[in-house]
Every structure is written in structure tokens, then in C-alpha cells.
């Protein structure tokens, strides 16, 4: 693992773009293809790529296992929480119309929040499974 200079340099060039692409897929999902699920997988792929090149310990220093495992339920909580908030604002569960003054904007912001929930759960699950697979093999 000491001689793979090319991999390390290439990874350092690629990883920022992978993160930007994940965020692009996430926040541009209303206009182009993509959404929380795809963005979560791309973000998880970034972490896995980093872990493969630089080792599991280096990856876990940036994305600790606790954080990743916390992300798994946190995303579902965000998603369901948006629904509960819309209940308290006087509309039906998961009807985002009253989140903002304008129903159309409320729908838009609701979609964004929900997609963030999906992103968090998907990315957390993928990375957590990867961590436990690799951690077991050692």
C-alpha cells in the first residue's frame, strides 16, 4: 500500500469532484435526473473509494463509524419529521403545502428536505455496511 502513488494522487484529484457531483445530483434532482437516493449512493461511493485507497482507519477518522451509523436512522427521522411538521401546520401527513406561505414553494422545500432525508439514510447505510464488511475481514 506504500507504492501506489498514482492511485493516491488520482484519488485526491477525483474525490472533490465526486462530492460536488453527489451534491449536484442531490440539489439539481428537481431539474435533471437524480435525487436523494442516487446522491446518497455517489456520496457513499466517495467514502468507499477513499477507504480503499487510503485505508479504513483514515476513512474512519473523517467519517467515524458512530456518525455513519447515526445517519442510518437520522435520515428516516428527517423524512418522517417533515411529515409530522406538516401535520402540526394544519395539513395532511407529508403534504408540504403549508411549510411556507406559498403552497408551491412549500411543496418545493418539502421535496428538498425529504430528499435530504433519503440521502442521509442511503449514504449512511451503504458506508456502514461497507465498514462492517471490511472491519470483519481484519
Amino acid at each position: 500500500m506504500k507504492l501506489d502513488v498514482i492511485f493516491r494522487v488520482a484519488a485526491k484529484i477525483f474525490i472533490p469532484f465526486m462530492l460536488v457531483f453527489a451534491l449536484y445530483v442531490q440539489f439539481h434532482g428537481d431539474f435533471g435526473p437524480g435525487g436523494g437516493f442516487q446522491a446518497g449512493v455517489v456520496a457513499a461511493a466517495m467514502v468507499i473509494f477513499y477507504a480503499i485507497i487510503f485505508g479504513l482507519d483514515a476513512a474512519q477518522r473523517i467519517f467515524p463509524q458512530r456518525l455513519v451509523e447515526l445517519m442510518v436512522p437520522a435520515g428516516v427521522a428527517i423524512f418522517a419529521g417533515v411529515g409530522v411538521v406538516s401535520l402540526f401546520l394544519g395539513s395532511e401527513y407529508l403534504d408540504y403545502s403549508r411549510l411556507l406561505h406559498d403552497p408551491v414553494h412549500g411543496q418545493h422545500i418539502g421535496i428538498l428536505l425529504v430528499e435530504i432525508g433519503v440521502l442521509v439514510t442511503v449514504a449512511g447505510t451503504m458506508v456502514a455496511i461497507f465498514y462492517s464488511f471490511i472491519g470483519r475481514g481484519r
Binding site: V72, A80, V104, Q107
Partner: protein, 180 residues
């Protein structure tokens, strides 16, 4: 047609191969071809998911699983006649079923007449989201997507429990030595 021929060739390769490492790599190629088929069918969102999940993540997870097991497939102890019969019978039934499907791209099918026109016409006035796939997934069908997210959550928790639980039951020799 070219894509489908390649898909068939790779399937035969996967079936005949005994080395699991090669099977995993071929599976990744299969997923990428499937993503290309989806692009040809104008389902860009599905293609993206197939490329990232099918070809990316599941290949990595399969390789990680191979890391824990042997890379050669065991020689089967039973004859393959019964599974072959089941597979061929299911295939014939499925092909027979496709004859009843409407041809590709016809607008007056039940699938395109039911709620799809409503979504297409009202997505921008209701949600100001031009990508109808996104507005259907998260707004009109928000309950379904919440369910899907919960499925991922449940599956992730289950896999984590399976992989991590056993390790604590069997302390390795290293740990014991430190305690003594």
C-alpha cells in the same frame, strides 16, 4: 439489439464461470449494460440508479464479501436438471406474457391513461419541479418513498446486526492475551 446480445453473452459467461471474482466483475459489466438499456428507453433516473447501485456499490460489497470467503465456487452436488426445468418454464411463461403487453411507446395504454397525465400536467403548477420523477417520488407518492427509506433503514440495521453481533461473542486470541 446490440446491448441485448451483449447482455445474453454476459449471462452465459456468468453461468459458466467458476471463479467468483470474475463473476462479480461480469456482474458489474451487466449492470452498466442494463443502465445503457435504460438510457435507450429514456429512463434516465433509473439508469443512474442502476449504474451507481448495481455497478458501483453492489460490486464493491460483493468484493468485500469475497474477501471473507473463498473465491472459487464449490462444485454442485446435485444435478442441475430440476433448476434448469424451473428456469426454462418460468422463462417460457414470461415470454408468453410479453405477447399481451402493448407495444412500446403507445399512449393509449391503461398505464399511461390512469394518473400519469395528471402528474405531467400538474407537476409544475403544484410543485414548480420540472423533473416529474422527483415530484412524483417525493410529493405525490411521499408515503411510498418514506416506506422505501424505511426499507433501506431496516435492511441496513439487519446487515449491521448480522455482521457485528458475532464478533463480540467470539473474542479473538489477541484480545484474550492482552487481558491475561
Amino acid at each position: 439489439m446490440v446491448l441485448l446480445t451483449l447482455l445474453a453473452a454476459i449471462t452465459v459467461g456468468i453461468v459458466r464461470m467458476r471463479n467468483l471474482f470474475a463473476v462479480v466483475v461480469l456482474g458489474g459489466i451487466y449492470s452498466f449494460l442494463m443502465a445503457s438499456v435504460m438510457i435507450v428507453l429514456d429512463a434516465v433516473d433509473v439508469a443512474m440508479t442502476e449504474a451507481s447501485v448495481g455497478a458501483g456499490i453492489s460490486t464493491v460489497l460483493m468484493l468485500a464479501a469475497l474477501h471473507l470467503t473463498k473465491t472459487e465456487e464449490a462444485v454442485p452436488t446435485h444435478t442441475p436438471l430440476l433448476p434448469l426445468f424451473v428456469a426454462v418454464a418460468t422463462g417460457i411463461v414470461l415470454v408468453f406474457g410479453t405477447f399481451a403487453l402493448p407495444s412500446f411507446g403507445v399512449a393509449e395504454t391503461p398505464m399511461n391513461m390512469h394518473v400519469a397525465p395528471y402528474y405531467l400536467q400538474n407537476s409544475i403548477p403544484d410543485t414548480s419541479v420540472p423533473n416529474v420523477v422527483t415530484s412524483v417520488l417525493s410529493s405525490y407518492r411521499g408515503f411510498d418513498t418514506l416506506g422505501e427509506t424505511t426499507v433501506i433503514f431496516t435492511a441496513g440495521i439487519a446487515v449491521l446486526m448480522l455482521l457485528k453481533g458475532k464478533r463480540e461473542l467470539k473474542p479473538g486470541p489477541k484480545r484474550r492475551r492482552i487481558r491475561r
